[in-house]
Symmetry: C2
Subunit: 329 residues, 2 copies
DNA sequence: CTGAAAGCGCTTACAG
DNA sequence: CTGAAAGCGCTTACAG
């Protein structure tokens, strides 16, 4: 059995309350007393039991993170950003994967509540009424990350996806592209669907060019390549492609190469994200660079503010993005 | 305030102990009584407080995971495997990144102990005496994942790295390679260093071929490419390359292309891991395929056995690997 | 500046 | 099959 606060108190000849005070710095303690306590802690090798502390204080110093899938590089990088800031503020994280399944998401919110986390960082494809209700019921502070509540009822961290898609489209148009294909995520996805499609279409309309959208079942390379191979012969052959993820961007490049189309000479490709994959393929991908790590970090930083009731002016964060030009355009 | 077990007991007209029993199934409860309790739980929307439960039972249903960096795809996939099995057994995970820094690793073990996790899954580059001592002190069950204690004092899940490197080398030799370069991790790394170098050298010696090892500061693409570019003119130009990670494999391919060497015609490349990157580059990578997800899953499954004191025969798991042949060889 | 005591919300022998 | 009560290891008013 390891030492408890009671053992420390006895060893130091003080009360438990005093030990607690020097541990947490919640009140002034005479230097002399403090030293006795610190010595006792030292000799006993005492470490406070966070569970007991959590029960007594109703704060667990733990943040729940719900994401679709950590094994996706975009997500993993974001989670890393969250974790680093959590560490900085002495929080730990409980990580869960939802596979973007609505019922699993709801479930996980319940689990997070049972674990008494101090807050939840959430990434998912949609913010439904049921989800909102689950958060409401759990009475937990929530921050969305790379996830949007169209009604803006929950704080969130994103880039301006609509504008970014618009910019990407403009970029290709200015490069002379006339037949720009948009490789989209599911159109009801609040991030990689609707807003980006809108930005794309707005730019095309302004330029008097025809839109052509292909919706991928996922943002993964394999699915993108499969879909492109199946549909390449029945679509207008593009001279420009905008992909909503780097993996889809790579899929586009390879689909073109397989169809004997040179990238970037005959087809220019730009993708969203700028994960590390973008520089690991040839030609290197031109991307809409998202500050992925920072998005996670900002979300977690904001969470710590919510928890500590610091007054927060901003609510819906729009982080800057930029077009990183490489060899694919 | 949300309902407590006391509220449920009163609502159902039974004692807290009885509520606890139906909740945990720790004793037989009359059907009629059970129904009353279940109804009360339903109407109050009661969910047990896991923190209180943890304090009382001394089991938190939480597993700590310490990894160098979740944002590395290999790690992320492994973590996903761990999480899935944890979910299956009703455990949650606390995830922490050590950046492979020894002091940080020790620190994290302390934190995990404070959080009263039921066990720790650990991935790191080395198992030092200090680390072992920290685990000892924390009195936590530990399972190493893709990490080796040379003395075998801690259960672990790995592939046979020595044999795998031997096989990879044999594979290239049989393809006719005479000048095989080994792109290694730091040589004191217990997984990507020593054992793989040994397997490589053994195969070369058997074939009477000269070894040539390049040690990379990290397993990342950027670092590998940089190192190769700097040293390509001062080494024997290889006709075969074995890389200890897929990223280094891609770096090797690109370094060759930049030096006007055709892959696989003039240089054959094989890498370790078979992360998804392997199929996202051209030519697609031939790899020593590791069951990454499964390694995480097996480690977590073994942990649940340790926790429940199921008698465990095996201790040091050697999962199967295979050579997946693609276009780079 | 310090202590005594209640309480956080559960589980778990111990009785019956 | 069920209940009363102690206890898990802390924090936090409340007193002084």
């Amino acid at each position: 059995m390891s030492a408890t606060i009671y053992d420390v108190a006895r060893e130091a000849g003080v009360s438990m309350a005093t030990v607690s005070r020097v541990l947490n710095g919640t009140a002034v303690v005479k230097d002399e007393t403090k030293k006795k306590v610190l010595d006792a802690i030292q000799t006993l090798g005492y470490r406070p039991n966070a569970v007991a502390r959590g029960l007594a204080s109703k704060k667990t110093k733990t943040i729940g993170i719900i994401v679709p899938d950590v094994s996706a590089p975009f997500v993993a990088e974001m989670v890393r950003g969250m974790e680093d800031i959590a560490t900085m503020y002495n929080y730990q994280i409980i990580l869960s994967n939802s596979d973007a399944q609505a019922d699993r998401e709801i479930d996980l919110i319940g689990t997070m509540w049972e674990k008494q986390v101090d807050g939840v960082l959430f990434m998912g494809s949609q913010v439904t009424e049921e989800l909102l209700q689950a958060f409401e019921q759990a009475q937990l502070p929530v921050v969305l990350c790379s996830t949007i509540d169209p009604e803006g009822r929950i704080p969130s961290v994103n880039i301006d996806n609509r504008q970014a898609a618009f910019d990407a489209t403009r970029f290709l148009i200015e490069k002379g592209c006339k037949r720009i294909l948009f490789l989209s995520g599911s159109s009801d996805h609040a991030v990689v669907g609707t807003p980006r499609q809108e930005g794309y279409q707005k730019a095309l309309k302004q330029a008097g060019l025809p839109p052509q959208i292909l919706e991928c079942p996922s943002l993964r390379y394999e699915d993108g390549l499969k879909m492109l191979r199946e549909s390449f012969h029945q679509i207008v052959v593009p001279d420009g492609v905008i992909a909503v993820s780097d993996e889809l961007g790579v899929a586009a490049i390879h689909a073109c190469l397989d169809a004997k189309l040179q990238v970037p000479d005959q087809v220019k490709v730009i993708s969203f994200d700028n994960t590390r994959l973008a520089v690991m393929v040839r030609p290197e991908l031109t991307t809409i660079s998202q500050p992925i790590y920072d998005m996670g970090a900002v979300a977690m930083r904001f969470m710590t503010k919510l928890i500590h009731h610091e007054n927060v002016e901003e609510y819906s964060f729009r982080l800057p993005y930029e077009i990183t030009v490489r060899k694919s355009t």
